[in-house]
């Protein structure tokens, strides 16, 4: 029993990331009708906003010690983060919590990147075939990841979670198991919690604001909404920015789980696309549900007991599920009729 809970938990962090990326993909597809292959790159950019931000925060200044000397008799160099020098303990706290603090920076940056992307490129592809949308955004994804590579190199850059959230927590105790049965890294729990909040926020925004209502109406029937004289395009641009922000934040928070490199986006993109298709193209709840579902399935498939029965299943489970779903339920789990069919 503890094992099963542990596998579900293990699937949650990946599932959360899939859900967040897929949510943005679906928003973009549903509102703008655009298939965005550069969405994984946004996830990656988010991660690198954090990397950059942490680097800036940890910027050190070097002073020469007045009392101590090195073995060679020269004064000892003292390296000290500038922030510490300026703010003392608060500075150290900032550095420790850089991943969380970088959320504040990432929100405007990712939003602006999203809006620029939409206005500068995607806009011109609304009425062009899906194949061309795929191709141009694929090109953009390559460009974005190569830009990151020129500045950060090809190696993964590790990023640590705040000290207080670094260890393991005994999740089993919460559920009434024996202590020590379900150890779970605290940060993964934080990630899951964060994803739930973001997803909830996006849904609430769409559900309870007039803005969201118009967007939902536009997703259902763009032309009619346009006829009402509502400037739906502007709202859709905003939605693109929002989707980019969600993907970016997913990347920001993922950095302590997986050290980002420039290819991070591509790896997640393919999986997220599959998540979208499994959930049902154009269905937001479908995307979220499928994200968690596939994350958890993947985690179960990686159990040794399962791998012994079907070797290699952990590697292909997601793709396999996608194939089966597409063939039996072309609309996906929760998809609307007629989206991209016929």
């Amino acid at each position: 029993m503890g094992d099963i809970v542990l596998q579900i938990l293990n699937g949650l962090d990946k599932g959360s990331a899939y859900a967040l990326i897929a949510l943005g993909l679906t928003l973009i597809f549903g509102t703008l009708g655009v298939v965005n292959f550069a969405h994984g790159a946004l996830f990656m950019l988010g991660a690198f906003v954090t990397v950059t931000f942490t680097n800036l925060l940890s910027f050190e200044r070097v002073t020469l010690s007045e009392t101590e000397t090195t073995a060679w008799g020269s004064p000892l160099e003292i390296r000290e983060p500038v922030l510490q020098a300026w703010f003392g303990d608060f500075g150290l706290w900032l550095i420790d919590y850089s991943v969380l603090v970088s959320i504040l920076v990432a929100i405007p940056i990712m939003f602006i990147i999203g809006v620029v992307m939409e206005r500068g490129l995607i806009k011109h592809f609304y009425s062009r075939p899906h194949a061309e949308q795929i191709l141009v955004t694929f090109g953009l994804a390559i460009v974005l990841q190569e830009i990151v590579r020129t500045f950060y190199g090809a190696n993964s850059i590790s990023q640590s979670a705040p000290d207080a959230l670094r260890g393991m927590m005994d999740f089993g105790v919460v559920l009434g198991f024996e202590p020590g049965m379900v150890p779970y890294p605290t940060w993964r729990f934080v990630y899951f919690f964060f994803a739930v909040v973001v997803i909830g926020g996006v849904f609430a925004f769409l559900q309870f604001t007039t803005f969201g209502m118009v967007v939902r109406a536009g997703m259902a029937d763009r032309e009619t909404v346009g006829l009402l004289g509502i400037d739906i395009d502007k709202r859709f641009t905003f939605m693109f920015g929002l989707a980019a922000t969600v993907a970016g934040l997913a990347g920001v928070m993922y950095t302590p789980i997986l050290s980002p490199n420039y290819q991070l986006g591509m790896d997640f993109l393919v999986l997220s696309f599959i998540v979208v298709v499994v959930g049902g193209m154009g269905s937001l709840p479908g995307a979220v549900a499928a994200g968690f579902l596939l994350g958890i399935l993947q985690s179960f498939a990686s159990m040794n007991e399962v791998k012994e029965i079907i070797p290699g299943i952990d590697q292909i489970i997601i793709y396999l599920v996608a194939v089966i779903i597409l063939l039996t339920r072309p609309r996906g789990l929760l998809g609307r009729a007629g989206v991209m069919e016929d």
Partner: protein
């Protein structure tokens, strides 16, 4: 093609001449070495095959690299088990890739549009992941499949020397190269290149026949209006499946040839970005046109070879005539686009082509050609008719 006035026979003859002269034409550009010229021919074959599917039917496969990989593995296994002669290796490459394409195509073609793309992507990724994990006995995992001295090679006579054998055609070595001096220019005549080029010509000829056949016409009709075709009494599924299998076999041949030139096979050949590169070559040259994909493949392989070789020092040399500071700045910027950064250039060019020239380089050449003269010859343009339409990359839906 560039104009309706050039007949297919003429095109084919010109094509053969150009292909035969590549060692001479490429030499002054610094591209006349065997490995690169072989790439021109082999990736040309790959792109022609991809174009038969994508260019004609509009079905965008994002998993074609899987067939390339399958072809390579098959060939290397043939080298290990049977003989270093390339003929059995290539036959097996084509056959196995064909079988794979039949299975994957049969399933994937039940859906169209983006769903088809995702299905092919999923299958290719499965192949890739399995090649790295469970299938290691067949693929040799990350190391890649290589020749070994103690391979059975039951048809070949036992070798006494301690060297690995090389792929050959009845004794003619693929890497046999003769250097001739043409007006002071060192021209490398490599057997492997001419061998691949022969297949390129064959592949081109077959593609040309398909383009001009009723079968090809049906494929074009699938791209424009699959629905109408169904109500016209045509069962589109076997047509698209045939196109898929043919294009998979082309990719298998290309994979087999890669292994013939360099007898090792690795899973990275199947990763989905490799599939993306195939799409890219086809689009860059001009999907749906006969020559476009070959041009696209050549341009990309050439650019890759050239750009990835430049480093900062070389770039700085270009700007030596400028004042120091300016030269440094320019070097810094340009260096980002060459060497390791050549993918950046590739991505940018790709975006520009899709945005402004969805018909690819061939379309660009045609526009320039049309601009330079030939106005008022309306009928001529109409004659081109459906051939002109290659630029449209509508996904079949």
């Amino acid at each position: 093609m560039f104009g309706s006035k050039i007949s297919d026979t003429t095109t084919l003859i010109l094509f053969v001449i150009v292909v035969a002269l590549i060692p001479l034409l490429a030499a002054p550009l610094g591209a006349g070495y065997p490995a690169l010229m072989q790439f021109f021919a082999i990736f040309g074959i790959l792109a022609i095959g991809f174009n038969i599917l994508f260019g004609l039917t509009g079905y965008l496969s994002f998993g074609h690299a899987a067939f390339l990989g399958v072809g390579s593995y098959s060939a290397v296994w043939m080298f290990k088990l049977l003989s270093m002669n390339v003929i059995p290796a290539l036959i097996l490459s084509i056959l196995i890739a064909g079988v794979f394409a039949l299975i994957i195509g049969f399933v994937s073609l039940r859906r169209s549009g983006i769903y088809f793309s995702i299905l092919t992507l999923a299958f290719a990724q499965m192949s890739y992941k399995l090649a790295y994990s469970v299938l290691t006995p067949i693929t040799n995992g990350e190391t890649g499949l290589q020749l070994a001295l103690d391979d059975p090679r039951i048809l070949d006579s036992a070798r006494t020397s301690g060297q690995l054998p090389t792929p050959n055609l009845f004794g003619l070595d693929m890497n046999a190269t003769r250097v001739v001096d043409v007006l002071g220019l060192e021209v490398q005549l490599n057997f492997g290149y001419f061998f691949s080029a022969a297949f390129l010509v064959l592949a081109f000829w077959i593609a040309m026949r398909i383009f001009r056949s009723p079968f090809g016409l049906m494929l074009k009709a699938v791209k424009t209006n699959q629905n109408r075709l169904n109500y016209t009494g045509v069962n589109t599924r076997p047509y698209t499946l045939a196109a898929f299998v043919i294009s998979g076999m082309y990719a298998g041949l290309a994979g087999g040839l890669l292994a013939c030139m360099d007898p090792l096979a690795g899973a990275e050949r199947m990763v989905w970005t490799a599939s993306g590169e195939i799409v890219l070559m086809t689009i860059l040259g001009g999907a749906g046109t006969l020559l476009g994909p070959i041009i696209g493949a050549t341009v990309i392989k050439f650019a890759e070879a050239k750009l990835s070789k430049f480093n900062e020092g070389v770039v700085h040399g270009w700007f030596d005539f400028l004042p120091d500071g300016l030269a440094d700045v320019l070097t810094w910027v340009v260096a980002k686009f060459v060497g390791d950064g050549w993918h950046l250039t590739l991505g940018l060019v790709f975006m520009l082509v899709v945005t402004f020239l969805p018909g690819g380089l061939v379309e660009g050449a045609r526009r320039i050609g049309g601009y330079l003269g030939r106005r008022g010859q309306k009928e001529d343009l109409e004659q081109l008719g459906s051939n002109v339409q290659g630029g449209k990359t509508t996904a079949a839906e």
